[in-house]
Subunit: 193 residues, 2 copies
DNA sequence: CGAAAATGGAACAGCAATGTTCTACTGCCG
DNA sequence: CGGCAGTAGAACATTGCTGTTCCATTTTCG
């Protein structure tokens, strides 16, 4: 059937698209002002090919954003934030997010969000809501510090993730960085003993 | 004497320079890709005047960097990191840094550092050393968690400051944001009870 | 093999920011 | 008053990125 050609063709397109998306995320995370030529070089494709997939720069950035949100959504589901003790679940979420690696940098970079017309960034995702529910549950269970509101806890989680990711980038092992992160997280947002 | 004209002239120059530096810090913190025309407008001066004080864009950015490092140095001295119990001293440092406000954004923005040829950013300042000494002292006193190394503690301090600063930007009172920051800091890096 | 799809590279025009130069205006102080 | 420092604004050349078009080449698959 014609499906084979369609599949292989779509497969080729998908592969190229993914290469550009990944390279774009890595390059733009390090330097948000990098040119599309830099992205193309990092992806191992020609500059025109980048334009063939994403007609404008903002299209590429938006696509990277969608991609990261997808990854975060998938990681959140894998962590099963509704299962088991809240503090343990929060640690699982942390671990899954930490595995996202470079994608994290995109989340933290505000200057990209500035280049960004994109309202999807503002609106709450299902992952956001799941994380908020988890924190709320933790406070009700008495596992989280009642003096810290939900927003604060979530912000602290993300910032500790960022610090840990930077540390693993600086040469420390991922395991070590994650251990420090989780240990600090437990102490900082856990209920006072 | 000629000194009067010199003084007033220098006074005028210094005032303009300061306006450009402050406006530049504020504008570039929000959007590192902002044009010099934006900086000039924010400073209330002409674009040519900016070039008169900082011949190239990188000169302006470098000058802002020096300025921020100066402010951090002064804040560190005010906090007297050598006096009293280490945890209390660390909180004082945190308070002083928090007061730096917008200048903090400059410190966290990596994309500015990328635009930046500037090696001074890498090298350790006296403030860095003082903070490291304080953390070391805290661990020896048993006031800080012995499982967290100095680098980690310092990174956590900065990231909590960043989160608190963002929060006060988002509408919460500075007092409230600082309280959350200090409370979380004590728990996260303090010695386990 | 042969056609269609995908790509790379060159070339081009448009654009925005940069950095420079020159002129005219303003405020200040002797 | 008259000179001087500082400034704004216009005008200009330059540069680097962007987005587009066209063509030659490679890859893919029937």
């Amino acid at each position: 059937m014609g499906m084979d050609t369609a599949v292989s063709s779509i497969g080729a397109r998908a592969r190229t698209r993914r290469a550009i998306l990944d390279a774009g995320a890595a390059v733009l995370a390090k330097n948000p002002t990098a040119s599309l030529a830099d992205v193309a070089a990092a992806a191992g494709v020609g500059r025109t090919t980048v334009h063939r997939y994403f007609s404008e720069r903002s299209d590429l950035i938006a696509a990277i954003g969608v991609d990261v949100l997808d990854k975060i959504g998938a990681a959140t589901e894998r962590a099963r934030p509704g299962d088991g003790p809240a503090l343990t679940a929060l640690e699982r979420v942390c671990q899954e997010y930490f595995e996202l690696g470079e994608s994290l940098a995109i989340v933290f970079d505000e200057s990209l969000a500035a280049t960004w017309n994109w309202e999807s960034w503002e609106e709450e995702t299902e992952a956001d809501r799941a994380l908020a529910r988890l924190v709320d549950r933790g406070r009700e269970e008495g596992a989280l510090d009642s003096r810290l509101d939900t927003d604060w806890v979530i912000q602290v989680v993300w910032s500790l993730l960022y610090v840990a990711w930077q540390r693993s980038r600086s040469g420390d092992t991922k395991h070590n960085a994650l251990s420090l992160c989780l240990h600090t997280l437990r102490k900082s947002v856990g209920a006072a003993p």
